[in-house]
């Protein structure tokens, strides 16, 4: 009931590899992002004073500042990492799979 290209892609071992690799990558990055966020929040809940501690005796900057900014940067960096690999490696692999199936 499917067209022939779809059938070929379905049976292609490289398609299975693409799905597995990209799926693993996406879930891993999601877990890292949520993990960092949950960790940040747990510190706020259980030990807010940790984030209220000054990073050194003569600085008014507290540990909460690098932690919060770090979280913002990591959201940006994680999306960057995903886009780089998905737009390069995974898209190349996708193009090959489609080409192979259309022959």
């Amino acid at each position: 009931m499917y067209d022939v290209v779809t059938q070929r892609i379905e049976q292609s071992p490289r398609f299975k590899e693409l799905v597995a690799r990209r799926g693993r990558f996406a879930w891993t990055l999601s877990a890292i992002m949520l993990g960092l966020y949950v960790a940040y929040i747990l510190v706020i809940a259980f030990d807010p004073q940790l984030f209220g501690t000054r990073i050194s005796a003569d600085s008014s900057i507290t540990w909460g500042i690098p932690a919060g900014l770090g979280l913002i940067f990591s959201a940006f960096i994680l999306t960057g990492i995903y886009v780089k690999r998905a737009n390069g490696e995974f898209d190349d692999l996708t193009a090959e799979i489609i080409e192979e199936a259309q022959q």
């Binding site: 984030f51 008014s60 995903y82 886009v83």
Partner: protein, 552 residues
């Protein structure tokens, strides 16, 4: 231990009371007419109307109208998404929160940001590969077209309506405050301008209004942050230590404070925030304006960058306001409160660092910000009616393109009139719950159907229909029974549903009923729908057969 755990879980997300910052609340005092601001704003209108005229010439097909022909680049779309997401309320509200309690403002803004990477990893590319104009294209891809389109069009319109009311009322009050214009004039002005952009310029003009607004807002905020840092010799240590010495709360502004009022409500709100963003029709629609999945991914990358940068700026601006606004008697009334309320600190700071001219600029930017958001909402609402209901349900996908465009334009006009009337009707009402309700409905109706249609083979039309309707219904009913509506608005003594936000419960209802009515669906149609998952899956993964950009 348990209470700490609950408090911790609550902090996972943000305090519900803060949600009120999403819509400018309470009594506002009409200010003296600000001519600099009005001139700046007229320049903005002239420029965006020029763009609308240019875009109108290019709008010949439905694809141009709904998605700018898929011609927007990833970078432009990232900017437009940021322009759609950074509302006037978040600019004024978050800087006000930092001004009042320091560090807590950062926790709050981080809650808004972490949903974006998840949208990228989980739904962005599948959405782009499967859809054409609206997210209903994706939700109904292998399910019963008629039922699922009606369901998701209804979900979209409900979300758009609540969001629009909150924006219109907020706009009226903000403009009263910033420009000294009458509430009625302000609401009519916003309604007319948004209809003009969408009616004539479609997605192309809407996108550029959002891009220009994002550039203006980011550069204005950057300038303010630089001026604040210049004041303290570009030394963060000095910024914080000077703020500690003048702030009433002293040292405690540098550590997490008491942001929690009620843990369950806070968790509920957090869920609404994260998954609601992934169910907002005007945000999802933006993913179809780019050529392919590659560009869709890039859009989220840039959007996350711009939005994150914006939150860092508002943090600096809030601390700058502690130093430069909180200590200046010029910005306080006789009782020592900030003129116009705490939400005005960023505006006062603009005047403190850049004088009257810059104050006018920031006021104009705040107005432009509202226009960009309501234009996106209107377009999403119009496409739900014309594409999903008219073309796909009534005409069974055989509508003539010209007729479909005509329906879009009539709907846009109607939405404009409705928005103005609702804005007037709700002027004196408590609208604090509406943005929260819009997000809760998006998270409990649109998101579950969309997500499961892409990820779960077992989903059937019957399951999606029951889940979506019950999710939406639960969200609405629980909101009505909540303290905000049942007690504050309807005047009853005791709320029947004790929590402020329904998403935690309504999402469970939506997912559970969708699952139950799908697995028990033994019909012939259901097994065909399950069989169609495979080709859908292959297209969602490879983009094979996905709608591409239209060449001009």
């Amino acid at each position: 231990m348990m209470s700490r755990l609950l408090a911790g879980a609550a902090l996972l997300f943000v305090a519900p009371s803060l949600w009120a910052a999403g819509a400018l609340e309470g009594e506002v005092v009409k200010q003296a007419t600000n001519y600099t601001a009005i001139v700046m704003f007229l320049v903005f209108i002239a420029a965006t109307m020029g763009i609308t005229k240019w875009a109108a010439k290019r709008n010949t097909s439905t694809s141009d109208y709904y998605t700018a022909g898929g011609s927007i680049t990833g970078f432009q779309n990232g900017m437009a998404i940021a322009g759609d997401y950074m509302s006037a309320a978040s600019f004024l509200g978050i800087s006000a929160l930092v001004f009042a309690s320091g560090y807590d403002g950062l926790i709050y803004s981080i809650g808004f940001l972490v949903g974006w990477p998840i949208i990228l990893f989980m739904i962005a590319e599948r959405l782009r590969n499967l859809g054409k104009f609206t997210f209903s294209d994706v939700a109904s891809y292998r399910l019963g077209q008629t039922q699922i389109r009606i369901l998701s069009a209804f979900g979209s319109l409900t979300v758009v309506a609540f969001y629009l009311i909150a924006q219109m009322v907020g706009a009226g009050k903000l403009i009263q405050l910033l420009f000294g214009l009458d509430y009625l004039v302000a609401v009519v002005l916003v309604g007319v301008l948004m209809v003009m952009y969408v009616l004539f310029g479609g997605m192309l003009a809407t996108t550029w209004v959002q891009i220009i607004k994002a550039i203006l807002l980011l550069s204005g905020a950057t300038f303010m942050a630089i001026m604040v840092m210049k004041h303290v010799g570009f030394d963060f240590g000095r910024l914080f230590s000077e703020a500690i010495s003048v702030h009433a709360k002293g040292e405690s502004i540098m550590s997490p404070g008491g942001l929690v009022s009620d843990p369950i409500s806070a968790i509920s709100l957090g869920l609404a925030l994260m998954f609601g963003t992934a169910g907002l029709p005007h945000i999802l629609m933006r993913f179809f304006t780019v050529a392919d999945a590659k560009e869709a991914r890039k859009s989220v990358f840039y959007a996350t960058g711009f939005i994150g940068y914006f939150y860092i700026l508002t943090f600096i601006i809030g601390f700058g306001a502690i130093l430069l606004v909180g200590t200046n008697p010029e910005f306080k009334d006789a009782s020592g409160a900030i003129v116009g309320g705490n939400n005005m600190v960023a505006v006062h700071l603009a005047s403190a660092v850049g004088g009257n001219l810059f104050l006018g600029f920031i006021s104009a930017v705040a107005f432009a910000t509202i226009l960009a958001v309501v234009a996106g909402l209107t377009l999403a609402g119009a496409s739900a009616v014309s594409h999903d209901l008219y073309a796909c349900v009534i005409k069974k996908g055989k509508a003539r393109e010209q007729d479909e465009l005509k329906v879009t334009k009539i709907t846009t006009l109607a939405l404009g009139v409705v928005a103005i009337l609702l804005g007037i009707a709700f002027e004196k009402q408590n609208i604090a719950f509406m943005v929260g309700l819009a997000f809760s409905i998006a998270a409990s109706c649109n998101f579950p159907v969309l997500f499961l249609s892409m990820y779960w083979k077992g989903l059937t039309t019957r399951g999606a229909l029951f889940g979506g309707i019950l999710g939406l219904g639960t969200a609405v009913v629980l909101t009505i029974l909540s303290p905000t509506v049942w007690v504050s608005i309807l005047g009853n003594a005791q709320a029947i549903f004790p929590y402020e936000y329904p998403a935690l419960f309504s999402m469970i209802v939506a997912f559970a009923t969708t699952w139950f009515f799908s697995v028990t669906d033994k019909s012939q149609a259901a097994s065909e729908e399950r069989a169609r998952f495979l080709p859908q899956f292959i297209r969602s993964q490879t983009g094979l057969g996905a709608s591409g950009a239209v060449a001009h």
